[in-house]
Symmetry: D4
Subunit: 211 residues, 8 copies
């Protein structure tokens, strides 16, 4: 595990056979391996191979992640990560963040689709998430939810621009720009980069553990 | 007055002599003429020439507008325009909107610098502005205030992106993009185009008068 | 009805089952719900479900909108919205504006394909539309029709850039840019955002009612 | 004279001494030489040197062009070029086109500032320009005048985007984009490239001469 | 025929039935009608309908143009247009220019694929094209052929950027930019806009006729 | 102190008198106030006013920050922030991060100019910084240092793109893009946004304290 | 062989019959011809035609190149080219470089997928490649490997940006920008332009031969 | 000397005192140090300090480079670099390439201003440069000279885009794009990056030496 982050393979664009081989090899060496952006067919093939090899597998469909391991769930620590989305279209990206953070030992609490509907859903959501050490907030179109959250909590907030929207800068660029220009204190990852946000959040939450 | 909008001259980039001559001629024909983006020196020259010609002048410094007329203030009607800004850097643009709307016969109410400080200043501001027929909201950096206002009032809202901010899309482009991508219902004008927003708002407010 | 705008769901990218469920729930609570960008298959499923649930449905094919309601057409007021297009490719976007404005109680008059053919078709069209309180004008490619209309009428004009055209800035960006830079007084919405233009226009037209 | 176009030197960014030397040498060889974008100081130095060398000079201030020649005005032919501008800020660019076309033997007729004021000034202008073989039309901001002219005349029209305007694509890019996307038939040159438009128009007008 | 340019319909994106109806109506009124960017299926339907209606049709496959007329070929005049391409991928765009220029009465001479192979193919090609009144030059990737041609002939040259190439600005933008920045005298049309270049060239060539 | 972040005023573009007044008022209410991007003249005026008002002031020249407070240094906790720069041009941005993190109670360790000189300076620098809870890494031009650091430490890393460089994307855009695309796990702030990076890092480091 | 580079045909977008005919003709004249970006079907057709015509063929699948020749492998010289990739997605581009360099007489040594895994794989790879006269380094996403290599070897390094990655500048633009901004000494080719990099490297390596 | 390239300091933006100190220190350690982009004042201060320290200095004004050394000119080898420019505005960038290549032991031959004047100046220039091992070609505006040269010589060619030109992509971007899209084989450096091109060319020319 380099820098506390598990081996991660990008499944997209890889031949299924190659993906299976790479994952088995990594799991052999490191005890644990993730693939992101797996298609259902790729996931099925990996699960079958894992079964034959006596490895455990975890397939998260919405997150499009599959995890192979020798020994099941990773060791838990006290770090808590909150993951929020503005709309439903952002959930696929948020789920990627959730699974990677869990695989790095965090407890993850989620509150999805709390942005479009207005503040009346956001306030109770934030109360449910109280106790989190760090917030990952995914939002598309104008991407303002991360700044709103950062104005309400005193913990670090990471914004994830999502490639929803249409027209001018509609592929996530408007969301990226508005997060970078925000008057609130927040950091940002690439458009749709749920994996990076989740791993970074887990590194932050791990600080709570060690101290 | 073409389409209900007074003659307007862009002073920026014009020789002072030319500006004076154009404004005197327009006022002669149309009874009233505005210049936007006037420098202090240009304004002084126009005021002096107006005095000699027996015309009335109104110089709004922060708005950088000067108005010449034969007969003083324009005829008032019942239309009310609200003008808001997120920060102090947006005021110069908002003032341009205010003056043009007043010159088109509207009552204008303002609430400046209500964005950065958070919701606690926005709510009382909106109460003060109650009764307005249309809202002009100027904001730079991530430009989210117009969408917030549009989610709280049931009248038309016009967003004005302002060229504050730095770095990526820091010349008002991030604000423009986020307003165009907004999930709220609002329309937008060019970056720093306070004049267009004010004149459009005045056309809207005039509907309240006529009915 | 938040801010006078009915519940609106973006059908694009949603599972048909989810769409049906969301719309039934919203209609239950609010009495009325719209979905935009519905595919024919989605529309058929929604209509079938509405029938079973004893709800009324209205499917506008060119607008790609479906409306569910408990009680049929919305209450009409005196506000009149005019919707124009430059070409035929802009009609799909204009229709989205028309339907939402109707659903917000306005009378809508349309004049489509009056730009390319030149001024000889525009003048009679504007005469037919006389009495409108606000103009929505959709145009692609160089996007100049909104500015032309704004130079001829004394009511507020909203430009809608449409993603027709090819080559340099051919996805609606040239139209957006030319509307923002226009010397005429007009406001703008995102590329293809007929919904936003129609809802904003309806908010404006509603002023005529109340006064 | 390569391809019928006189020797042209870009004065901007050149040392005055170098400019003088280059122009004297070119005039010696080719009988005639132009410099564009000359500062007043550069023009004065060139004129002084021309006087000493027994050469004729022509300094056009608004065009910022200086011409040296052994034998005065170029030979005239029957070709007629029309040059129009939408506003006053476009005149400096239009003048560059006018002078180069004259130096290539054309008669040039101009009609400046006929765009902003609306159609009532354009129609009489076009009547004055009747008989022209080609039209050069300079326009900034949304840059629509060339397309309007092209819809009214049956001769070739060349659009020149001008770098006026502010905000989004306000350095002439919006004008360039709208001219390239135009439904009318017109060709385009670079932003502020009055020289290219004028020389190209003169090549066109020369066809009328030869036939 | 508005401004000497025949009625032209953009077939792309139109229903076949609508296309047929529009073309029949236009031909009825104007005697002649073109459609550009027609698919093979659209062309077949238009040809069949033309046959039934007793109209003449001309289908140019590589140009993707179909022409309907009451009276066959247009009246010829003395104007000659030259059309060149740098590579083979540019031919589809060049053919569009050729057909429209022919439909406007010009003789058109072509020289295709003379750029990539180097100067040894270009010089004989230019000799074959001698006598042309105007040159249309289509080029993708870096788009330098128009400037090369403009440096060798003394007639007007129109550059057409073509959307070939890949990578940075590989959709024709690099070609557009290099043509606009060219030190040679040439004008430009939109990427892939063979129609505009051909119609503009025909307007130029028509000057040779009249004189 | 909203969300644990002290009151911060952006001095750039503010009148000196306004700046002084705002800072005195904020310090009165909150006990502490920072201004960023202060000019030397602004700083001198603030310091003078603070002296008269019996307030303590801290002026950090390279960071261009001035701090007013009633009670001197903020309360320290155990959190440790590391701040690195690739070159010397990045130091002004890094210093902004350092001062804000100190004002939020952190210990800050710095290692400047460790990128250009190659890995041989980076390794000892990272050893000096061992024990830090979070790393802020500022880099211009191609902006690769944050990714290199993130590959070597197991703590969260925040990249700050700096507006050094020239040519293509030379205003910090290349650095921003390369950080967002990085295969390493890191989050990013706006170009030159040292303040945001420092405040976010301090929020992270504060987790170490509380646990 | 123009400039020492063999005849090269871009297969993409060409009809199979045309491709076969062009390649046979070129091979007839020049003794040797390459096609890049060939589909499997195109390659099969070319190979079949080559067999009938008594020509030798070489099909490199991952490089998507097919070579026809009268006399087999090109004459070898002492020049050695090294080709490296950061990841596996870059191999298709690197292979294009490898094959063209071999066809120009070079020995090519490769080291693929040495970037993502970190420095521990790069150092042994560079030792294996010792003796190379020039390095071609392909990398996508943030594209930093070429700069790292250029900091470790004293031979010329050519960077090839690859169109992998997603989100902001994810089509190879971030890699292109970071290579152009690099503090290391390296030159760059277009995104995915393995052919250009390989041919340029072969021209460099040929210098070692001649001296 | 890292990778055969001398220590280089970017003077632009550095305090004169700092520059002097850095250069003296580097020269002490490495025997030789360059600074690029030095102002006349900076150069004078460095020369004075060098005199006092008993070091040799070489100030190249047009290149804006100053070199300090213990032992005078670098050791020469057989490598020959050719440096060409299209226009006079490109010379400042070309000179930067020339001086760095000389400092790396190459003989440099130059041919400046051979592009705009057409092929008749280029051919004799290339004959004068015969025997060069590598060509550096600087060009602004449309940037086509590097491709022309690459079509005429069989040695490696490096294109340097220069930030001359105005209007659309007029800051060197058009030149960069056209070089990257070129059908000829050439590599590219950043806009105005004469230093990188010269150092890379010197690395290539050094191959001729060693063989
Ligand atoms: N065609 C459309 N254009 C712009 N906004 C829309 C459109 N359709 C729905 N919306 C808005 O998009 C937001 C998210 O919609 P939904 O995800 O469906 O709940 C809501 O605020 C809707 O009012
Ligand atoms: N250097 C800086 N970078 C980013 N944001 C800042 C900076 N300095 C102040 N701010 C924030 O900018 C917003 C507007 O500041 P002001 O206009 O001074 O009230 C406040 O929310 C500040 O926290
Ligand atoms: N993969 C490639 N990348 C860049 N240039 C290529 C490639 N393949 C062929 N070319 C060049 O593209 C130009 C046009 O190729 P063609 O159209 O096939 O004659 C020729 O100069 C070829 O050398
Ligand atoms: N004109 C220049 N263009 C590109 N890189 C340069 C230039 N001058 C210096 N450099 C490089 O920039 C890096 C940082 O320079 P410095 O900040 O002066 O240490 C060093 O690796 C230098 O080799
Ligand atoms: Mg917060
Ligand atoms: Mg509202
Ligand atoms: Mg109007
Ligand atoms: Mg016309
Ligand atoms: Mg010519
Ligand atoms: Mg790490
Ligand atoms: Mg090196
Ligand atoms: Mg060559």
């Amino acid at each position: 595990m380099r820098c506390g982050i598990p081996e991660v393979v990008l499944a997209e664009g890889k031949e299924t056979d190659d993906l299976v081989a790479i994952m088995l090899r990594h799991t052999e060496v490191a005890g644990r391996c993730l693939a992101t952006r797996v298609s259902p067919a790729q996931a099925a093939a990996v699960e079958a191979a894992a079964g034959k090899a006596g490895l455990l597998s975890r397939h998260e469909e919405r997150a499009k992640i599959i995890v192979l391991s020798k020994g099941g769930a990773p060791e838990k620590h006290e770090g808590v990560v909150a993951v929020l989305t503005a709309g439903t279209a952002d959930i696929r990206v948020a789920e990627e963040a959730r699974v990677i953070a869990e695989e790095m030992g965090c407890t993850v609490k989620t509150a999805y689709d709390v942005g479009a509907a207005g503040v009346h859903r956001l306030f109770p959501a934030l109360q449910d998430l109280a106790g989190a050490h760090v917030y990952v907030v995914a939002a598309g179109r104008e991407g303002t939810l991360p700044a709103v959250v950062a104005g309400l909590v005193d913990k670090p907030v990471i914004g994830v621009p999502v490639s929803t929207g249409y027209g001018y800068m509609g592929g996530g660029e408007a969301a990226l720009a508005s997060m970078l220009q925000s008057c609130s204190v927040l950091t940002v990852v690439n458009i749709d980069a749920g994996f990076v946000a989740g791993a970074h959040a887990a590194q932050i939450a791990a600080l709570a553990r060690r101290a």
